[in-house]
Amino acid sequence: MSKGINVAGLAHQFRARGGAVPALDRIDLEIEPGELVTLAGPSGCGKTTLLRMIAGFVAPSQGSIVVGGTPVRGPGPDRGVVFQQPTLYPWLDVRRNVALGPRLRGIGKAERLGIADRYLALVGLADAADRRPYELSGGMQQRAQIARVLAGDPEVVLMDEPYGALDALTRERLQNELLTLWRETGKTILFITHSVDEAVFLGSRVLVMSPRPGRIVLDEQVPFSSDASLAPDEVRALPAFAETTARVRVAIAH
């Protein structure tokens, strides 16, 4: 079961020295349950801010956010968050980090460690399960964080540039895995990225935000990721892929 996201009239100003800094400006956004929406935009345009508001970490200055029919009042286990910077707990080994969600839900030890191992295998970290997070590379930490969020089994997954720190190969592998997972589970995913290629390749719908204060300036359905019959290389070779990529590029540059 997945949930939709409904953002209406959202605007936000950060209070800073010398007055209010507008970060987001009149965002209206409807994300259907089971969509994989990618969000691109120049640095500092407010992507993270929008994501943190949907996650319930920050209350918006104006406007409303509704997830699965319930207004967002704070964080909750229905919305998993993959942070831009990995936030694993150094006092737990990687396996127990991943098992934290099930643990908080009261799932027994053997079962939750089993769940953790399954998701660690999925992100290719089975060998690192017994290590502490600070003994992992940045990319490995990010993969562990993704495993932790998936093990929490949220209806909505909010991902903030999760693959920014990864090498090209790992990145492509995880992109494919995300698609497989999305097709299998039908989770609603909001995926922020700097990479136009990634946005177009992954998204069933691509959003582009304007520079600060952020507004949504492009909102386009993209057919590629929903089609499981095409291999990644075939998708990227499609003329339509190049055309969409070009349109997104133009939208970001403006």
Partner: protein
């Protein structure tokens, strides 16, 4: 990896060698000064040998001397190590109770803003008082026996532990809390699963400070009815002109304090291996 290991080892060897040499020089100088009898009367400057003898006497049954044919047990009916153990027990009890008060208090004060604002000034007030200022008061309340001493140690130990805990709680990264909330952590789970372990390095630092406080305080507290107790023995032997014994006590106190600190640092390394890494 291997080069750093080698470097650390040679560094360690050099450090210990340096320490041994400086210690040798120190003892030699001490011996010379004591033997030269520069200070009158001579018992004021016991030689290392005399201090050692006093130390051994204090840990054994020995004749009382002075022509009297009687054997006594250690000093003041207790062996020196028993005096030390009694003081350590007081310190341990004081620290334990101090931590039992200080850690939860610090957690609440650091988490709930108005409690911190309300209680903070009192903890600061208590912390800035020298414990000796209120020992008379405690003796009046709890008598001259152990209860007042343990209370004194609790009062000396808990403010640094509380303040360190608050510091640790306030230093928890916002997103570490958010991550747990997004995984479904309740308020209590957040405290036990995230805030407490995240604050652990600071709590242990606070404990180290508290141990230092407790040592200074216990020796002072034992000035009044402090026997058995290593501080009491150090003081009493001094007033009775048993300077060699007094010096032996001082050395034992100092060495034990250093050993205790090393123990806590080892515990730190074992319990918070991530310190400075994450």
């Amino acid at each position: 990896m291997s080069t750093t290991h080698v470097q650390t080892t040679t560094h360690g060897v050099r450090r210990w060698a340096g320490l041994a040499v400086s210690l040798g020089v120190l003892v030699a100088v001490w011996w010379l000064v004591a033997a030269a009898d520069l200070v009158e009367p001579g018992y004021l400057t016991p030689t290392p040998k005399e201090v050692w003898d006093a130390f051994v006497r204090a840990n054994t049954y020995h004749p009382i001397g002075g022509g009297v044919d009687r054997v006594v047990r250690g000093e003041e009916h207790y062996f020196l190590w028993e005096h030390l153990l009694v003081s350590l027990r007081r310190i341990g009890l004081g620290l334990l109770l101090g931590a039992a008060v200080g850690v939860p208090l610090g957690l609440v004060m650091g988490t709930v803003r108005w409690v911190g604002d309300l209680v903070g000034p009192y903890v600061d007030f208590l912390r800035s008082l020298p414990p000796l200022a209120y020992i008379g008061f405690l003796v009046a309340w709890f008598g001259i026996y152990d209860t007042s001493k343990v209370w004194l140690l609790v009062l000396a130990a808990f403010p640094p532990i509380t303040l360190a805990t608050i510091n640790g709680v306030r230093g928890v990264r916002e997103d570490q809390l958010n991550a747990a909330r997004s995984l479904g952590a309740s308020g209590l789970q957040l405290t036990t699963q995230v805030v407490l372990p995240a604050a652990l390095p600071d709590i242990l630092s606070g404990l180290r400070v508290a141990v230092g406080f407790a040592w200074t305080t216990v020796v002072a507290a034992e000035l009044v009815n402090g026997l058995p107790g290593i501080g009491g023995l150090a003081y009493l032997s001094g007033t009775q002109n048993k300077i060699a014994l007094s010096v032996a006590c001082i050395l034992v106190i100092g060495l034990t304090a250093i050993a205790l600190d090393a123990v806590i640092r080892t515990i730190e390394r074992l319990v918070v291996p991530w310190r400075g890494k994450a």
